[in-house]
């Protein structure tokens, strides 16, 4: 079975693929809302205070993610963050963040524009290393770390979720089919399971 049979349009077909007998990685789509929050000029402290009050999150600095109440904030650029939360319906998360930030920040719902793929397993870093230029070794990268970089020539926001390790890979939704195909090809060697 070829990778294009696994990936139909933009969804994955459950099953076990690739090499057998090894330690397969798990690949799955993560259904979530994604909202971009950017502080207006000179208002970063106001945005931080607002989100601390409304979502109990301490907005992270470069290369880090922080957990809040029902959401995770990812640093993506100076005074700019992605807020990721389990899918709650159109505009729910963005509306709450907009109400929280007021005129201190720009809040843009990117739930339609970004897609998240999770790869996990003991050999997940091995699979990603075939394309990732960021060092994912546990001595320098770990849970709660974030890196905006490229995988398979596509811009991706990479977040390590746990020590398994599991990584959430956020890409532009229009590229997600191509991205999954490339990721599955990279995982042929270890084998991969689509839940």
């Amino acid at each position: 079975m070829s990778v294009s049979d696994v990936v139909k349009a933009d969804h994955l077909t459950p099953g076990a693929y690739g090499a057998v007998g090894g330690d397969p990685v798990r690949i799955a789509r993560v259904t979530c809302d994604v909202v971009q929050v950017m502080a207006r000029k000179g208002r970063a402290a106001d945005v931080a205070a607002a989100l601390l009050a409304s979502h109990e999150v301490v907005l992270p600095g470069p290369g880090a993610a922080a957990e809040g109440r029902g959401m995770t904030a990812l640093w993506v650029q100076p005074e700019g963050w992605f807020v990721v939360a389990p899918r709650a319906g159109d505009g729910v998360l963005a509306g709450a963040l907009k109400a929280s930030c007021g005129d201190a920040g720009s809040v843009v719902d990117q739930s339609h524009g970004r897609s998240v793929i999770r790869i996990s397993g003991s050999r997940a870093a091995w699979v990603l290393a075939k394309s990732c230029r960021v060092d994912l070794h546990p001595s320098v990268f770990g849970p709660g770390r974030v890196a905006s970089t490229q995988l398979f020539h596509l811009g991706v926001t990479l977040r390590q979720v746990d020590a398994v390790p599991s990584y959430d890979l956020m890409v532009f939704s229009t590229f997600v089919t191509s991205f999954i195909e490339a990721l599955c090809q990279a995982a042929e060697e270890t084998g991969y399971v689509v839940a």
């Binding site: 470069p62 290369g63 650029q77 100076p78 230029r133 960021v134 890196a147 905006s148 490229q150």
Partner: protein, 107 residues
């Protein structure tokens, strides 16, 4: 391959960046005349040695960075945010006189 030590993201490969030109040119005053603007838009020093350049971190933090790069060896001496000042090593290190690599080309 050039490694650029982004102030936000850490060391990254050159492929994540886009070269955005000479960071030493200064826009002339509005009434400086046509010739001054011609030089500002078109004329570059093309130095052999240390050079201050704009590099855009398009695959990372999407920030413009000032990079001090040696045009002959590709060695990167310093990386700073767009608004920060950078230190340029003395010209003696490169064997190129300061006037030659910092100044505008002779007419």
């Amino acid at each position: 391959m050039i490694r650029i030590d982004c102030p936000s993201c850490g060391g990254r490969d050159e492929v994540e960046f886009a070269y955005r030109g000479d960071a030493t040119v200064v826009r002339p005053a509005g009434d400086a005349g046509e010739e001054a603007f011609h030089d500002f838009v078109y004329r570059r020093a093309n130095p052999r040695g240390w050079h201050v350049e704009w590099w855009y971190h398009q695959a990372g933090c999407r920030q413009f960075l000032k990079v001090v790069r040696h045009t002959m060896t590709h060695e990167v001496h310093a990386v700073a945010r767009a608004g920060d000042r950078v230190e340029v090593p003395a010209a003696e290190h490169t064997g190129v006189p300061a006037a030659e690599h910092k100044g505008v080309p002779a007419a």
